[in-house]
Symmetry: C2
Subunit: 435 residues, 2 copies
């Protein structure tokens, strides 16, 4: 009840009461309609219970328990028996071998983790839905996205019935979901996935586990699925505009940028890189080419404005290095001029905190302001030491994505811009595209 | 004096005293021998002062000031004039346009940053020496390596005299330095670098800034150097066994693994991956192939020992998933058996903290112990949320490198093992190598 269920019926053959609630011996004893049954009994008892649930016309069952397809021959037989039992009935099954669901709008959770080990980010807007074949990856993702509003998490395990494509279809229609993230090891039906994915109306970010031949055995014993050939998978993702994350770090970074920036307009791929440290700016610019972005040239007007601010500035180039003498106010002013320039589609801000004239808290506050004022995407990267993580949290709570390095910020921005370019939602003049 | 200098002579034309010390009008007024002069005057006054210093036979000069080669034509002329002045003299120059040096053994620092913005990691052993063309990158690296003992930092800027290769030559001979890290945008003499690099006795980790054509202009205005073709640079690095970091995150991760693991023996590339979460293990194993490592097969003895510990374990494969039911003590016991297996060269530990039977502090303590007991390299990865960073710090303070994701841990381990393979310091039977 604490986790959002309106009415809970405990079912257990051995007990009369659980937490002061009358305990039923079987689902069939319950006369009211059951929306959701959560199964946490050992696999060998599950078949009889599912039979009862189907007879009682339970709408949905989450089988948390493991011991099915992932555990070998007898598990496969058991899972197949269950599949046959629910076939052509009104009952749908999630799992087995999963954590089930978390839903922010319904304040509903079937996750069997102690609350101090759960860390569901609470924000005003919850727009990211996470679908994961692995329970651990879904929980890890929550920890990695402390500032991103998570709307739903579905840990779907072996996909005996409901599969990843069903879930994507659902969340594509779900109005509150703006971005869908999927961790998957093996697809049940690749063709079906492709057809759904290429017609999605929202970004789908996928991390594929089991990329190499040697890992196939492991994926079978994890979720009972055979991992497909990664090169084929990548091609299919490309064709369907699926956003492919190469590793878990990219996965959460892409989730972050797509969810936080979702109201920013993408009008081109002409990038400006601003830093008060030459080295950081150069690392940021290094990432530009690999990300199919281009380093823009500022208009003459912008160049003269920047020269007015920064003392002794002989050439204003991009990446823009305003030098270690510049104050945080100089930094902010230059950032504003760059945002105003029509030759700039997006801005990568790389503040160095160390130069003496930089007052960090004021710099952060003003970056917040600029990001709010402009319609252009802005991403930020700085070194997040233990005592400086708070600044990243502060910015991200205002929808400004912060990355751990210049290169990572540019990589994520590239994915963001290229997605909108490929899907054509925000087309820009082809002359400015440098693919 | 606070930063380690034995005797300091302030020189300033306008003042009589600085901090109660008598101020000299010129270096030439000082009769004692000067080991090091630190120049922080505007560029235009620097030439006369350097002339004085050379006449006074000052051993070394650090020119902190900018305004030389990086700032255009007149700066280039000025720098060339200085180069001519010191040619064939006993005086050596570091910089200009740099932060100078930090030296832990001498407790010496010329960095002009406020102490609250410096963050030099203090450890018992200080074995990493950082050489950086960019001051900001060197400072960032300090922040990124809170648990790695830094012996020296040299920010060398424009390389008017002392260049990167001179510094590498020096630190190769320096007994206290075990690992050398270099950030560089452009080499003065590539051939000389190659000759020195290929004969080094210690790992040299390099991050090359200015990788793409578009960034060349920026590197000139940053350190007055022309960035070379990155593909050529990579080939040269490969030939000379230089450890090439593709971005700043890899750079600090490689610094971390090479410095912390330096006493672990590399006897092969047969890797074991252990997790209590199937998904994390699979992501770890995905990284194996790209890193020229191989997933090992355990001996029968190890398999039966693992089966004895973990209930209901039908198949013991690698990556090893001991399941969410396993306790932290189970996890540790399995890790021990894997370390004892002769078929295992190194171990990747991927603890999931979320499963209810895992008591995190005890798990961490015991990982520490295992890593201390074994001679094999062990790397660890887990999700480092704000409240869990302390566990990473705890492990790293005991020389156990911790990474932010399974893939990153494996990537760094691969660099470590392949370096020792290529340099032949720890040769292993070629039959076990799967390159």
């Amino acid at each position: 009840k604490r986790t959002g269920f309106k009415k809970v019926f405990p079912v257990n053959v051995k007990r009369e009461y659980i937490f002061n609630d009358k305990c039923y011996k079987s689902i069939k004893e319950i006369t009211e309609h059951i929306d959701l049954a959560i199964l946490v009994v050992p696999a060998k008892y599950s078949y009889e219970i599912i039979k009862d649930a189907v007879e009682s016309k339970v709408s949905a069952i989450i089988i948390i328990s493991g011991g099915f397809r992932e555990s070998g021959k007898s598990g496969i037989e058991l899972e197949d028996k269950i599949k046959l039992e629910i076939k052509d009935t009104e009952t749908r099954v999630l799992g087995p071998n999963c954590l089930g669901i978390y839903s922010a709008p319904n304040n509903l959770s079937s996750f069997f983790l102690p609350s101090e080990k759960m860390n569901i980010p609470k924000r005003e807007k919850n727009e990211l839905s996470i679908l994961s074949q692995s329970g651990a990856i879904s929980v890890n993702l929550m920890h990695l996205l402390p500032n991103v509003g998570v709307r739903s998490i579905v840990s779907f395990g072996n996909m005996a019935d409901v599969d990843a494509t069903d879930l994507i279809t659902h969340f594509n229609k779900d109005k509150g979901t703006k971005v869908i993230a999927l961790y998957i090891e093996g697809f049940k039906n690749g063709r079906k996935f492709y057809e759904v994915a290429k017609n999605l109306e929202k970004p789908l970010i996928v991390l594929k586990g089991g990329k190499v031949e040697e890992v196939k055995e492991a994926t079978i014993s994890h979720v009972g699925a055979m991992a497909g050939d990664y090169d084929i998978v990548k091609t299919v993702f490309g064709d369907a505009n699926v956003i492919n994350a190469e590793d878990i770090q990219q996965f959460f970074e892409y989730c972050k940028i797509f969810t936080l920036l979702d109201e920013k307009r993408v009008e081109g791929n002409k990038i400006a890189v601003l830093s008060n440290s030459g080295g950081l700016g150069i690392l940021g610019a290094d990432g530009i080419k690999n990300s199919r972005l281009s380093l823009t040239k500022y208009s003459k007007n912008t160049i003269s404005k920047i020269k007015n601010i920064v003392r002794g500035f002989l050439t204003v180039s991009n990446p823009t290095d305003i030098g270690t003498d510049a104050t945080d106010m100089d930094y902010i002013e230059v950032a504003k001029y760059i945002c105003d320039d029509r030759e700039v589609s997006a801005l990568v801000l790389l503040p160095g905190f160390e130069p003496p004239p930089i007052e960090i808290p004021r710099l952060i506050k003003n970056i917040e302001k600029i990001c709010k004022q402009t319609e252009k995407p802005i991403v930020v990267a700085f070194t997040q030491t233990e005592d400086r993580i708070k600044y990243a949290n502060q910015l991200e709570s205002k929808n400004v994505p912060v990355f751990q390095s210049p290169e990572r910020a540019v990589k994520a921005l590239g994915k963001y811009i290229n997605y909108y370019y490929q899907t054509g939602y925000f087309p820009w003049e082809s002359s400015s595209v440098n693919l």
